[in-house]
């Protein structure tokens, strides 16, 4: 508030008042919420790097087979056990070259091509399982937050699932349902459906709890009352008014879900209950290479670094998203 000068005459006073009403500076275009979010997100360097790397790796595994068109399953026993090309830096006699930048494995399969193929599977499992978990979690969270009658039952059910020992049950379910699904959809397709299904069915609980909490608070707000009073149906209220308002916690738990899904898939492959042995995923490549890691440490390192970097970037992305989507932090 600035000190107002005392007007000399009534006419001047009018001018002053009108003057106060006109803008001193040219009008700025209105800022949308998402622009604010983006500006806050950009400030978090880790999150920007994380998002960039996640995009890079996703595009890399999608477009990779066109850029590097070696067949990941082609055996070339004469050229087996090549070292990655960087070994030439300190050992000029090493069996390495630009034909196989990451080397070849004990059967002469190109490791770069295998990494791309494995990354496709790992990322596909991660994205799909995360999507499934979000779908279930959001549905249960919205239903139990919005409908009082369902709340008690659904939340007890969520608590029950939360107190199940997840990793043992996952192992159990994979060993039990492998046979029937494999005979139905083939060894690879069956395993894919099974792993996506199990990870999705066992990781929706946190999303459901967070969404329910937010819906419970939103439901009492005036705009929902207004919507209800003009006769909006429950389904419309949920779709048009509630879901857009809970999108931010859903996005944050989506990143967490993606990270856990990738790690769980790799862990299952590592324990030997995942995909069949000649079907590359990052976890499988790592597990197969552990036996000979003294001679060929790069075969453990490359998939391990791929998994770790992807999960790290997803975690940083989630961290940045949480800050950017929280209006209390935004603008600080």
């Amino acid at each position: 508030m600035t000190e107002q000068a005392v007007p000399a005459s009534p006419i001047e006073a009018d001018i002053e008042i009108f003057g106060a009403l006109t803008d001193k500076e040219p009008q700025k275009p209105p800022r949308s919420q998402w622009k604010d979010v983006w500006d806050q997100f950009r400030k978090h360097k880790g999150a920007v790097f994380g998002g960039g790397f996640l995009m890079f790796i996703t595009l890399g595994v999608i477009l990779g087979p066109w850029l590097w068109d070696a067949d990941p399953k082609a055996l070339d026993i004469r050229n087996k056990d090549w070292r990655p090309v960087y070994t030439l830096l300190w050992n000029a006699d090493a069996k390495a070259g630009w034909i196989h930048p990451f080397g070849t494995d004990q059967l002469g399969r190109d490791i770069l091509a295998q990494m791309i193929a494995g990354g496709r599977v790992s990322m596909a499992v991660g994205w799909l399982a995360m999507g499934l978990a979000l779908l279930i979690g959001t549905a249960i969270g919205v239903l139990s937050g919005y409908f009082k009658r369902l709340d008690f039952l659904m939340m007890r059910f969520t608590d029950l699932v939360l107190s199940l020992p997840i990793l043992p049950l996952t192992l159990l379910a994979v060993t039990l349902f492998r046979q029937p699904l494999n005979s139905r959809f083939g060894p690879e397709g069956g395993m894919f459906i099974l792993i996506v299904g199990i990870i999705g069915l066992t990781s929706w609980m946190q999303t459901a709890r967070i969404v329910r909490g937010d819906i419970l608070a939103l439901k009492e707000r005036e705009f929902i009352l207004a919507a209800r009073s003009i006769g909006t149906t429950s389904g419309k209220i949920i779709r048009r008014h509630l879901l857009p308002n809970v999108i931010s916690p859903i996005m944050v738990s989506a990143t967490l879900g993606l990270a856990t899904a990738i790690i769980t898939e790799s862990a299952l492959s590592f324990l030997g209950v995942g995909f069949p042995s000649d079907f590359p995923t990052w976890g499988k490549l790592l597990a197969d290479a552990v036996q000979r890691m003294q001679d060929f440490p790069e075969r453990v390192l490359l998939p391990g670094i791929a998994i770790s970097l992807t999960v790290l970037s997803v975690n940083y992305l989630g961290d940045g998203l949480r800050d950017a989507l929280d209006p209390r932090i935004r603008g600080r």
Partner: protein
Amino acid sequence: MLTFTFRRLILSIPTLLFISLVIFGLLQLAPGDPMAQVPLTVPPEVKQKMREALGLGAPWYVQYYKWLIQFFWIEPKILIDYLTNSSLLLGWLPDTSFYNGELRVISWQTRSPVMDIVIQRMPQTLWVVGLSYIVGIVIAIPIGIYSAYRHYSVFDQAGTFITMVGFSIPPFFTGPLLIVIFSVYLGWLPSIYDTTHVVTDWASFKVQFYQMIMPVMVLALQTTAQISRYMRGAMLDNLNQDYVRTARAKGLREGVVVMVHVLRNSMIPVVTVIALGMPAIFGGAIITENVFKVNGIGQLLLTALFANDLPMVMTLTFIFAILIVLFNLIADVLYGLLDPRIRYD
């Protein structure tokens, strides 16, 4: 508080029954046949008899009921007998001989009682995983306190990065990585955990110490990442509160303000998080135990799964479920006890 505890305890009974039913139902769908390893020369009618001897001929509800009786009635009797008979703690009590030869939960792999094997495997898991948990907490709490106190400092940034890395690198990568570095290239540490090793003198203690370093550190990295993050968050929440300003205003030393006032309030959520992580200690770390060949509970579960040993899998999974439910309850009660603002009644 007591009413709340009792109510939760009673409520956990149907929860556990339901969980046991879920696990049992899953196992009923198992395609494996426990007679698969019996030689083909055994005639089918003998096989059928053997199957019935394992209790497989009966309908599922009879099997479930029998398992419940065995687990909740016969096994506790054996435990009480053991306690009053040969343990140090209650050995002075008169010998109760409750158990008189009823059928216990029998493993299909070894044909010996499941609980005996669990008791055999427990010490290894408790030593390795339990110690890693303690090490993780001891490292995590100072890191959390200091990064919150020097918010956005270089230490905080580095700490956040390291905890993020700890979150992101899975144990099946850190394990082999450490083995390659410390066992293969440097040759300092053994890559396999020898559970038959007995500590008798200083030299054997050193061997034990060396072989524990890697598995404990792999697991401790995960614990540290998680707990220091919680610790930092809780400290940050408290450091800006009014009571901290009051404490400073009345002239308390900075050390007292942070280490007594703020720390005690920030420990409330952290203690409950620590309690929630406890079941994982008993559950063993399936992956890490597998990498370092520790024959603990996690490894037992994995081998039982591969060998189609359903009673073992059922009992182990159910023990994990009991621990999870129990420590959830403990965490809730602790929260109420530590924080007088929270009242459940």
